[in-house]
Symmetry: C2
Subunit: 297 residues, 2 copies
């Protein structure tokens, strides 16, 4: 069984690492905060001082960190994975970062005898804890096949999407839709509320037709009860929509709807609401219209 | 049993009228085209020469016409419903028109001893034929209750939304979401295609998560097979999004996402594609990016 390293034990990384231990893998961990490292060590993991040390002790290293510069530092920094000069090491980056940054890092790792897979996830902390994440993977297909058991320990639906960056581009498409749908839904809910309709009744009618979506089914009822805690933080949605903008520019696609949705998330974060759920972008429209979306029934 | 008039036997109106005959109602019809009138008369309906004549012979008159000016002409024109001076007549407008125009017409009809219900539908020709439309109703609640059997003959989910215009405002909220979701989905599909991913695989992954929606489930597979025939015509979606703009302005709600989506439908109609399905707005993005969204698998 492969020896696995796990770098980045945040809200997502910690439960994912726990699922690997549960599946019987020997785990070496490294993270910026003390508490989750202690927690994993108590469960049987070993600690390593740097990403380089993690790489030296493992066959596969997983990274789960916030953004492109974080992955770059862990992979290419002074005490990074590449510095371990470990031939055949597989690096699985499960963070959501830029496909372009991914391809750059993957190229350098390849030149150093490593293989990189980009394997961002969807499903949030609930999926991370339950081991039911959706995982979309790009990179070398034989490396992907070699890691099948590892992915299976963390996710339910695992899809190989193509060459390096293909996993991140798929995640970018997902984030276009989630962020865009919340922005569109905000306009419907605020129009309903300001027109004096019961937004709860409007949601009930709309989910019965062509407007049906996860956002209306799962998140709109929470908005109506003003339960705006995350789920998935708006500040992270903003980061992801910035990635979409860079990616679309790089491949030559104009994304005006996403650009506008991104600016609304920008306004939300500027207003100090970046730690709320991404569906709470409705507050931007509420502020513009001077109305609050609340269920009457 | 109430005697019903039906004005506007188009793609939606004709099957709705047939369902009323099937339910046992005595029907008087009036429409601009000859063929559907003959078809309904062959099924037992009577023909009337003008909306005024329809009103003179009926207890309830249903209108199903394209836009606000059409309803205004039928209701308030020289040979319109009001001209029949029939006390107690109920006018059910099932067209999708402006809530503001609706309230204006309803007020005049009320002054003339009539009651008007706005009762736009969703579910398309399939719902019209099967009698499974969703119907969202605004106007006087006792008039609504008096028409329960009539609605039941044409629809499945019938919801009373509130005062005059409330049905049309609910429909406007629905159209914000359908048009907006197609616009957002277009950006995801075109980014996937131009990045060299298999859009069919991307759709498969996305429907498994928070991006799940009717558009991805039902329409994206048709786009991937280039089946762009309507369904619901893009030119009608554009009309509906223009109604949203007027309505939002009137009540004081800013709807930038919908405004942008509307301009993309405008571009689609200008390009001569207004008779395609509303989901085919993806062609606007395809043209901008120089790529066609097609399934590889």
């Amino acid at each position: 069984m492969k020896k696995i390293g796990f770098i980045g034990l945040g809200l997502m990384g910690k439960p994912m690492a726990k699922n690997l231990i549960k599946a019987g893998f020997s785990l070496t961990v490294n993270s910026r905060s003390r508490a989750p490292v202690d927690e994993l060590v108590a469960l049987g993991a070993r600690e390593a001082a740097t990403p380089k040390d993690v790489a030296a002790n493992c066959d596969v290293v997983i990274t789960m960190v916030p953004d492109s510069p974080d992955v770059e530092k862990v992979a290419l920094g002074e005490n990074g994975l590449v510095a371990a000069k470990k031939q055949g090491l597989i690096h699985i980056d499960m963070s959501t970062i830029s496909p372009i940054a991914t391809q750059r890092i993957a190229e350098i790792e390849k030149q150093n005898g490593m293989a990189m897979l980009d394997a961002p996830v969807s499903g949030g902390t609930v999926g991370a804890e339950g081991g039911t994440l959706s995982i979309m993977v790009g990179g070398d297909e034989s490396a992907f096949n070699a890691c099948a058991e590892i992915f299976a320990a963390m996710g339910k639906k695992i899809t190989y999407m193509g060459a390096s960056g293909a996993g991140q581009t798929t995640k970018a498409c997902n984030q276009i839709m989630t962020g865009g749908i919340y922005a569109v839904m905000s306009e419907a809910l605020v129009l309903a509320a300001k027109s004096g309709l019961d937004p709860a009744k409007v949601v009930e009618v709309l989910v019965g037709g062509a407007a049906r979506c996860w956002a209306l089914e799962v998140r709109a009822p929470k908005i109506l009860k003003r339960e705006l805690n995350p789920g998935f933080k708006a500040s992270m949605q903003l980061k992801d929509l910035r990635i979409v903008g860079e990616t679309a520019h790089a491949v030559g696609v104009s994304t005006p709807m996403t650009a506008l949705a991104r600016e609304m998330y920008e306004a939300m974060v500027i207003a100090g609401d970046g730690d709320l759920d991404n569906s709470a972008v409705v507050t931007v429209w509420e502020r513009m219209a001077g109305v609050v979306v609340k269920g009457k029934s």
